[in-house]
């Protein structure tokens, strides 16, 4: 795992708690999942990892990474992409996660659509922003803000001191520029993670329909691993079907069954599952 989180001290300064050792039951299940993976019993490994997420409310980047690996080795490309994406939210600079996600996407049947996200300068900037978590960016922003405030206080109280008077303008403009740049990063990450609901197609070939139901035509289908955006959820009480309205990478919109879409924000997915999936149905993220 990467240990290049140079912003962590700043985040800690801003109030995060110290890292605690995992509870014994969590560690035990995690180890059993790893053992099953090493024994090539990937379905069993998935079961252990999913239990940690759904029953013990564990949301850890390493766990999502291992789960993505297990899904891929079990032949489920869609859920592999989904869990790598989840891992990247928590470990955005982790090289292993990035590498395996890149490997998996090579086998994505709509790879052209997926790769269309990057390419220009804007996407390069977005890519840089995505290397940091929301808390890291917030910690950096607050740190720059405190530096700016300290500089202003020094200028007020010790403005007559020659060194302060000379250095202050540079500090001021650098800090203001930093505030704007990091602030934009915070806004972008917040919008991406909290306002836009990033989702992944998990069915091997999900038909994209023009309306929320099997009675609407499906002009095309999307393959597992396609990253989409969830717009709304529609429940038809007559048929019991729940459909998700999604926006595809090329801007098209369509409807597909909710259980064929996995939300990168796992907490939002748990809320959706609790609301729409019948009690006797298998969990949405269980390995199919």
């Amino acid at each position: 795992m990467s240990k290049t989180s140079w912003l962590v001290p700043l985040v800690l300064l801003a109030g995060t708690t110290a890292v605690a050792a995992p509870p014994a039951v969590v560690q035990e299940l995690f180890d059993r999942g790893n053992a099953a993976y090493d024994a090539r019993r990937f379905a069993e490994a998935i079961q252990h990892y999913e239990t940690l997420i759904h029953k013990h409310d564990v949301s850890n980047g390493v766990l999502f990474y291992n789960l993505g690996n297990a899904y891929f080795r079990n032949g489920d490309l869609g859920r592999a992409v989904l869990n790598y994406r989840r891992a990247l939210r928590l470990l955005p600079r982790d090289r292993n996660v990035r590498q395996n996600l890149a490997v998996v996407l090579k086998y994505h049947e709509d790879a052209d659509t997926a790769r269309s996200e990057s390419g220009d300068l804007w996407q390069a900037l977005v890519s840089v922003r995505r290397r940091y978590t929301l808390n890291e960016l917030l910690g950096a922003w607050v740190s720059i803000y405190l530096i700016l405030a300290a500089a202003l206080l020094l200028r007020l109280w010790l403005g007559q001191v020659g060194g302060v008077r000379v250095v202050f303008p540079y500090v001021l403009w650098i800090a203001v520029a930093g505030l704007v740049v990091v602030g934009l990063g915070v806004a972008g990450t917040f919008a991406e993670q909290r306002l836009r609901q990033e989702a992944v197609i998990v069915a091997p070939a999900a038909p994209i329909r023009t309306g929320p139901g099997n009675d609407y035509p499906a002009p095309f289908s999307m393959s597992a691993g396609t990253v989409v955006r969830l717009l709304e959820v529609y429940n038809r009480q007559e048929s019991g079907e729940t459909y998700a309205k999604i926006e595809l990478p090329n801007g098209f919109e369509g409807w597909t069954p909710l259980e064929w879409v996995g939300l990168v924000d796992w907490k939002a997915e748990q809320r959706l599952s609790a609301r729409y999936v019948p009690a006797n149905a298998p969990p949405i993220t269980a390995g199919d």
Binding site: F42, G75, Q99, L134, L146, P204, N235, E238
Partner: protein, 607 residues
């Protein structure tokens, strides 16, 4: 002019309901025209919105001038959940499309289009539609005339007309009926408006066109005293979707005809002309109830069924495709998926369907492929029983049931699901992708949990985050205030003296207080005098040094204190002077102190 069929449908748009009504329940009805001619279609779009789970379908009320042709629900839903927004809203929205055909001249008031929701009847905004008599076009449907008769009446000639030829006049619902559109013309024919005889020529049918041979030659046919060249414009198979009478009203089709103007030289000319069609009707019978099998889902035609799997030895937890193919004659696009037997050892994850149709011998043939992605849950030898397909065969006029062959699977143990060092991806294609994991740079799992077990909450939800944001602002604000105060104290003497007046006078009064008990009178009254005069000097920024009492009085009055305060102050100072230099009564010191403090407090209010 557009005309449409006069199908009388026993459609009663009324119905079941439940739930309660709130203020948001609305029904809107919008016609596509407010004036039509007899024989024209009128389309009404109806939208019902309610915040309850159930509502009836709308009722149009009495139709005096119109006949109901078709009414379909085009959109339905009973609950809309808006997530990630500002809460959720539960509503039902239903849209209907009602097709009417005008039968009589007059004015129709649509004021009773209603929907029943929760025991309440909600009425749509009324509107009127005027029906005019036909002008110049085709006759009213009740006056059935042949195309040539109409043409003769209108133009005085019958050089060309289109005969709509139905293979038969009676058929079952969803049974295929061949129709041919034949152009009769005494002139040559170049081309025609292909959109004029489109899928909507016959209302209430699904139409599958049959491709006509290229370079087909016209046939010669004698009708009455004329010899016509007969061209086939279009050939199609109609599949009626509901019972009743389907009628194609006379219409005009734009046709480009060729003819020669006789003269010294014969010149070829072309003209677009309106060619009328004749009226054609098809009586559609409902499917019989007698002998209807339990599995029947509405499929009509003659079909066979077969089932196969792509992997007869899947592993537990693995996947395989069950492909059910239905093929034969009929509208394959309308073939309903066969019902799979309920097998507890099988998990069904997704379905696909694919339809392929073609025409041959003036019939529609094709296949429908239904694929079910399945996953076995138990190990051992398992059997998928025969899958039934029930359909109505119009040729024999009875129901038939075809079965697929049973399929035996050898379900393997789950550990054999993954090949050693291989990953098998089942995508949308039939053939899975096999990846050699050792040939790619695929990183191994992590052996230990790093970091918090649970994702920390966002910093902006913590108190300390907002404290760090606000504290510097408060510090900066306080610094600015303090520095400004310091600056003013240095540069503004009057302000500085006024700010320090209260503090100085209290210190001086403390000296007087000490002198009050045991001090001599000169010391005590001197301290009181210094305190009050010094306060007035500092607070009012006066130069009291060397002032007489009269001058001091004038200065005090100029500051506009409350009435009498300046006089009281001067009198008090004179009293103090008297006690100070001429002796005093021992009981007066407390009163003097009290009076001095009161005067100071009163002067503090003066700016």
């Amino acid at each position: 002019m557009r005309t449409a069929s006069a199908v009388r449908l026993p459609v009663l748009l009324v119905v079941l309901l439940a739930g309660t009504v709130r203020a948001e329940t609305t029904i809107t009805a919008t016609p596509n025209a407010t004036t039509v001619q007899v024989g024209d279609q009128l389309l009404i779009e109806i939208e019902v919105q309610a915040d309850v789970d159930h509502a009836s379908d709308p009722d149009l009320g009495p139709l005096e001038l119109f006949e109901l042709v078709n009414a379909v629900r085009t959109f339905q839903g009973t609950q809309i959940q808006s997530i990630f927004g500002a809460g959720q809203k539960v509503t039902i929205t239903r849209r209907y499309q009602v097709v009417l055909i005008a039968r009589k001249e007059g004015e129709q008031l649509f004021n009773r289009i209603t929907v029943n929701v929760g025991g309440r009847t909600i009425t749509a905004q009324p509107f009127r539609v005027t029906v005019l008599q036909q002008v110049g076009g085709a006759q009213a449907p009740s006056q059935q005339q042949s195309a040539s008769e109409q043409l003769r009446q209108r133009l005085g000639r019958d050089e060309y007309f289109i005969d709509v030829q139905l293979e038969k006049n009676e058929a079952y619902v969803r049974e295929g009926v061949l129709v041919r559109f034949m152009l009769y013309s005494i002139y040559g024919f170049s081309r025609w408006d292909g959109n004029a005889i489109g899928p909507n020529f016959f209302p209430g049918v699904q139409q599958v066109d049959i491709e006509l041979p290229q370079n087909r030659q016209p046939q010669k046919q004698r009708v009455g005293d004329k010899t016509y060249q007969v061209y086939e414009l279009r050939r199609a198979v109609l599949f009626p979707i509901r019972s009743g009478t389907i009628t194609a009203e006379p219409q005009n089709v734009k046709v480009l005809i060729e003819y020669y103007v006789r003269g010294f030289f014969a010149m070829r000319q072309q003209d677009w002309v309106d060619v009328p069609t004749n009226r054609a009707s098809l009586h559609v019978k409902p499917l019989p109830e007698e002998g209807k099998p339990e599995q029947f889902a509405g499929t009509v035609g003659q079909y066979k069924i077969k089932a196969e799997v792509d992997n007869a030895a899947p592993a537990v937890g693995g996947g395989f495709l069950l492909r059910v193919t239905v093929w034969g004659e009929g509208n394959v696009n309308a073939v309903e998926p066969p019902t799979l037997p309920d097998l507890p050892w099988l998990k069904r994850s997704r379905d696909y369907s694919k339809f392929d149709s073609q025409t041959r011998d003036n019939k529609v043939w094709g296949s429908a492929v239904f694929e079910y992605a399945l996953s076995p849950l138990e190990q051992g030898e398992k059997t998928i029983p025969p899958i039934a397909l029930a359909f109505f065969n119009p040729a024999t006029q009875r129901y038939e049931v075809e079965y697929s062959q049973p399929i035996t699977l050898q379900v393997q143990a789950p550990q054999e699901l993954s090949l050693d060092g291989k990953v098998v991806l089942h995508g949308a294609d039939y053939e899975p992708t096999v990846i050699d994991i050792n040939a790619i740079d695929f990183r191994h799992i992590a052996s230990a949990l790093i970091g918090d077990v649970r994702e920390g909450r966002p910093l902006y939800l913590g108190f300390f985050f907002w404290f760090l944001l606000v504290a510097p602002l408060l510090l900066l604000g306080a610094s600015l205030v303090i520095l400004r105060e310091q600056q003013r104290m240095v540069t503004d003497e009057a302000y500085a003296r006024r700010r320090s007046a209260s503090r100085v006078v209290r210190r001086t009064l403390r000296q007087a207080e000490q002198a009050k008990n045991g001090g001599d009178a000169r010391t005590f009254y001197g301290a009181v005098d210094r305190a009050l005069v010094g306060f007035l000097r500092d607070h009012l920024h006066l130069e009291t040094l060397g002032m007489t009492r009269e001058q001091l009085h004038q200065a005090l009055v100029s500051r506009l204190p409350e009435p009498g305060l300046a006089d009281e102050t001067i009198a008090f100072l004179e009293t103090v002077d008297r006690f100070r230099f001429a002796g005093e009564q021992t009981t007066t010191r407390d009163e003097v102190m009290t009076q001095a403090e009161q005067l100071i407090r009163r002067w503090e209010r003066v700016r």
